[in-house]
Structures are given as C-alpha cells and as structure tokens.
Symmetry: C2
Subunit: 266 residues, 2 copies
C-alpha cells in the first residue's frame, strides 16, 4: 500500500503494521522519530549480551530492553501500547545462529523466557545529515545501506564475539566533515564515523561487495565514510549459536515514540 | 603517607594500595585518568542491575564489567593486572542493603558468583572544569561533593529502584554556563547538569543537609548546579536488599588506565 508517513504518528504506523496492512521497510516513516533494531533472545543469554553491547556501545547502542522475561513490550516512553510480536513489519527467526525463517509476526513462537533489546539504528543520524542538505546515497538509491564486516575485533563477552560491522555512505570530503560534526550530537546513535577513505585499512576487500545490505554508487571525488553499525550485535548474536533468537528483517525497524531531538546531545 | 601523584602511574598507585601502603581517598591522584565507582553483586542480580544502569545511564554510566562470574579483574584496557579485591583503598560491605562493614580489602569475602561493575565518577568532569579555571568547591574545601536524593524517579528494573541522586557544585552563572559547555564533551561521565537554582524544584529540602557527602559553602552570587550521580546506582543496590554486595568507600575510587581525554566526545 501507499503510505503518507508525514501525516501519521508512530502509534498509528505500529497499528497499521500490527494489522499487517503494511509489511514493507520503514525508512522515511514518521520523520523525526527514532527507529530501532530489535534483538530478542532467551534470558539466560541476556546478561552477557547486554555486557557485550555495553562494552561495544558505539556499534551496539541499547536504547531500551524488556524488564521482565517474556514481556512483549518495552518501557512505555519508548513505544505506547507496544506488542513486540507484531508491531514490526517483518521478522527474522534464527535457530542456532542460522536464519530459519522470515515472517510477518512472531506471535506463535514467542517464548516466556525472551528478553528483547531495542538498539538504535542509523536512520536517526541519516535524517540529521539529510536535514543539513547532504545526500545519503542509499536513501537516494532506495537501498539498504551497504555494511561490511571489518577486521576490527570487538570486546568479546562469553558466547558473544564479533568483528565490528560498519555501514558506509560515500561523500565529498567537505560533506563528510559536516557529517562528522553533526554526528557528534548523537553519541548514542553510533556517534561519529570510525573511518573514511581506504576500505582496506579496516579489512574491507571489495567495497562493491558488502557483507550485508546493498552496494551503492561511489561518485568521482567522493570517499567512503564508515560508521559503526548495530549489525555488529546481530553478528555476535548469530555467532553465539543460541537455539532461538529473533531480529527484525533488514530495514523493517521498530518505530518508537522517542524523538531524535530528545537524544541529541546539543 | 604523603603521595606525589603527579610522578606516578595508575598501576603504581594501584600496587601501593594493594600493599595497603595507602588507604585514603584518591581525588587528585594521577590527573587525567578516569576514576571509577565499584559495585559488586551476585550474578543472579547482574542482568537487572545492568538494565537499570542502561535505562538510567546519565546517573549510572557503566564503564566496564567483569565478564565471568567471580572474576577479580576487568578488561585489561581498563586496568592492567587489576585485583578488584585489593586495588581500591577502601571498601564498603553491605548485607541485605545495610552497611555491614568498612574494610581495606575484600579478599576473604570474595564470592565465585560476584559480577563487578565500574561506573564513571564525577572526578573526570571536575578535572575538566578545573582545567578551565573554574573552582570546584568540594575540592577547594577538601570534602566529598554534597549529594542529595531528589524527588525524580528513575526507571525501575525488577528489584532495582531509586530516585535520582545528584551531586552539587555551587558556581556563578557564567561559570555554570561554561561548565555545561565543557560537560557536553563527556556524555558517558554524567554529561551536563540536570538542574541549577532552586533546590526545592527537585525535592531538596535543605541544601546544607546533603543525603551523602559533605555540605559545601555557597557564596553570594552563586547558584547550586546539580549533576546526576552514580550514587543513584548505590541507592538502587541498597534498595534491592541483596544478601551480599560491595562498593568502594566514598572517595576511594578505582584508578583506571583510561584517560579522560579518550572518552571526551570532541
């Protein structure tokens, strides 16, 4: 269906998704609101996972978590009347770290021992960058941002270990500098980039073959600029080979009731 | 004993403390290095405690945690060759949330199920403020900063609940403005103040009777400026009435190998 995001609220979008009237990606929905990644795993792994996120918080910024095992919501200020089993427009179900299924809801497979984590996505800083008049290529080209597994190790915690995953946006140097300045304001939304320029410096062999997401055009005079990505947490989750975990489908984010401007540092 | 902090390293100070050649407060030791609060609790409460800290991270900024139950160290980049049982200059032992004992080390009572958390202290931003030529009254008066339990509720998680605890430093308005600017750079070190001016606005009845720490002089033309304090985590820990927990004695901080400048946002 067509959507007219600018006229709607996060709640009305979540209800539309709950009713499965919309099953697509959420980029551009309800400008100004934080969209989050979802990671759901059994409580017995939740402490180590949260420690992993805390130890690697530039890539894995936890916005909120469910406080009781099995809870289907998050604190109310994050999303009013939330049902995590149905209020995202697409889910990925993993068994022992392997993708098992992609589904529209997870009502039938929800477990009493699940703890859910919402991690900040890159959509917030992309919006701020675009508001400054800087093009974000993956949005222009209607793609998921290209993401790459680097050779930079994260701090491991128990079963959870991964190299850093980065997302990439090509920019002219002056725009990259302005984007760095803007991202200073969002330390809890991945903050500033971790690298620009030569992809090989961080172990990326072929910039046109991203590990996740889609390749985007890099124009003459542009450099690739790399941000720490929440996909790092997903890779760590997969590497842990837990019997049962859930994430959102790429680009099918949780639309929260929190404004980007509320988490801006200044 | 006398100490000459400017000539020493965090490691040499920790060894001096391990040998119990020094049992005093650590303010002013090894300028430029982060000093941290310590909270140690049984693993069964660690997930909810870390979730509490994450949900209230301006007051409870977790710098690092022990990744294995019973571990006596933290990740090596935090503090080389650390022994958490002896490398702080004073400990408080709590039973069921009540202060039970103050001791020089906790070697004899360490448990295999303890998880340890290091939380950023206010010493880092105090140093940055002083480096800008602004007086920090509690340092001038050789006191612990005054702290107050406010009427602002934190987000509770399971057993862990508390109102926000704040520390207070009196300043002239122009200095307060500069201090706010400086603290923008340290979002993981309690960040900017949460209030200035009328103490009653945040439920503080008598500014001269702090809940913790010592009262300090407020001079003509100064306003009290309030920062979120890690003491919030200690109060939540006490409120949880856990059988056995440990913190540092007030002002007897863990001296880390991390530079303040490494966590400065810009």
């Amino acid at each position: 269906m067509q959507h007219n995001a600018s006229l709607t609220t996060p709640y009305s979008i979540r209800m539309m998704i709950r009713n499965e009237d919309y099953t697509g990606k959420t980029s551009g929905f309800v400008p100004g609101m934080i969209q989050a990644n979802l990671i759901v795993l059994p409580q017995q792994y939740a402490l180590e996972f949260l420690q992993f996120c805390q130890a690697n918080r530039q890539s894995c910024p936890v916005l909120a978590s469910s406080k009781v095992a099995g809870a289907t919501d998050l604190p109310e200020h994050v999303a009013f009347d939330l049902d995590l089993r149905s209020d995202l427009s697409g889910y990925r179900v993993f068994k022992h770290g392997q993708l098992f299924n992609e589904v529209a809801n997870v009502k039938d497979i929800w477990r009493d021992d699940y703890i859910s984590f919402a991690l900040a996505s890159s959509l917030s800083f992309e919006e701020s960058i675009r508001n400054a008049g800087i093009e974000v290529r993956n949005i222009t080209e209607l793609k998921n941002a290209p993401m790459y597994l680097t050779n930079i190790p994260c701090e491991a915690v128990g079963k959870f270990a991964s190299n850093l995953v980065v997302s990439m946006r090509p920019m002219k140097p002056a725009d990259a500098i302005r984007a760095i300045q803007i991202c200073c304001r969002y330390p809890d939304m991945h903050g500033v980039p971790i690298h620009f320029g030569n992809p090989a410096d961080i172990g990326i062999k072929n910039i046109n073959r991203p590990t996740f997401g889609d390749p985007v055009t890099i124009k003459e005079g542009e450099v690739p600029v790399f941000w720490a990505s929440s996909a790092t947490a997903e890779v760590a989750m997969m590497n842990a080979r837990i019997d049962s975990t859930i994430t959102q489908r790429p680009g099918h984010m949780l639309i929260t009731d929190i404004k980007n401007s509320d988490v801006s540092l200044f």
